[in-house]
Amino acid sequence: MIGFQIFTFIVLLMFLLVFIRLMRHPRHYLSWPTSLLILVIIGLIAAVFVDPNFAQTIAEWCGIGRGADLMIYLSILFLLLNAFTFLVRLKRSDQKMTELAREIALMKVQEKERNP
């Protein structure tokens, strides 16, 4: 168990460092409150992996039996939200592709009509 915790802690530390570096990049566009929120979330995830009781405490506070259950519920919510976002993006992308293909088709016809 200790090995896993060290491993995840290192991974999260890397995420943190990468993120902080990205924040310094001139093209960084996330607003200040959003960046802080992401840092806090990374911190919370780190805390959960480092101290198992941390998740337990929050879980009890929420009225959920186990810390592990809480993590699972949150993960499911996150994954569902993610999937939905992707679906929307995919649909939008499909729509744009249709419009592009249509534009090409009509352009070719126009071309043929101008130069028979």
Partner: protein
């Protein structure tokens, strides 16, 4: 003064498209065939027949193909737009009847209904499937349609914008009915003849998978 454009969406219909287009040579309609990325000689056959050809660079689906044709028709001064199937199921004589009804009764759109008219050789499974689809469409749209999936329709260009198709595949048929409802268009169903041949039966909706695709398109298609 009517300028009638007939839009035909075709995908790999080289075997029948010539005969379908031949029928139209006796009419005054402007026929536009949208080749939806066919991999056979559909396009060549269309060019030979003298009809207007538009080619999609990739296959997008019947709904998208029809909309492309509709856009073209509008740009070229259409007053009336007809959608017509490429597989020979429809009878071009019905167009004249429908046009008369449309103008005489001052309607916005006229839909063909095979269940009000005659069907020749319709397979039972198709009959049942269509009736079910119809029942579902009636329920969800609130409109008393008797044939929710008929490709033969005529509408005035003035309502084309309200009927703009965003469903690229087969769900466009249901989309049109929903839009008739939401735009409160004057519509009527008219009996039409539908011929089922061995060819069109084979080509027709691969029933179950087709239905699932349509339902999925309707559920998630509105999201964007």
């Amino acid at each position: 003064m009517k300028t009638v454009f007939v839009i035909i969406a075709a995908f790999n219909e080289e075997k029948v498209i010539a005969s379908v287009l031949h029928d139209f040579s006796q009419t005054e309609y402007h026929v536009v065939v949208v080749d939806d990325g066919s991999t056979d000689n559909t396009a060549e056959k269309v060019i030979q027949s003298g009809a207007i050809l538009i080619r999609h660079p990739i296959n997008l689906g019947q709904g998208a193909a029809l909309q492309t044709g509709i856009d073209y028709a509008i740009k070229h001064g259409a007053t009336h737009i007809v959608t017509f199937d490429a597989d020979g199921q429809h009878d071009f004589h019905d167009i004249a009847t429908m046009l008369n009804t449309l103008d005489r009764d001052n309607l916005d759109i006229v839909l063909g209904s095979r269940f009000l008219g005659t069907t020749k050789n319709m397979p039972l499974s198709r009959h049942i499937l269509l009736k079910l689809a119809c029942w579902f469409t009636r329920l969800s749209s609130g409109l008393p349609v008797t044939d929710a999936h008929n490709g033969l329709r005529i509408f005035k260009t003035s309502v084309a914008k309200q009927l703009r198709l965003y469903q690229p595949r087969m769900a466009h048929a249901t989309e049109i009915i929903y839009k008739i409802r939401s735009s409160r268009l004057n519509f009527r169903e008219v009996p039409v003849t539908t011929r089922y041949t061995e060819y069109s039966k084979r080509k027709g909706q691969r029933s179950l998978s087709g239905v699932i695709q349509i339902i999925s398109d309707l559920l998630f298609g509105g999201i964007s």
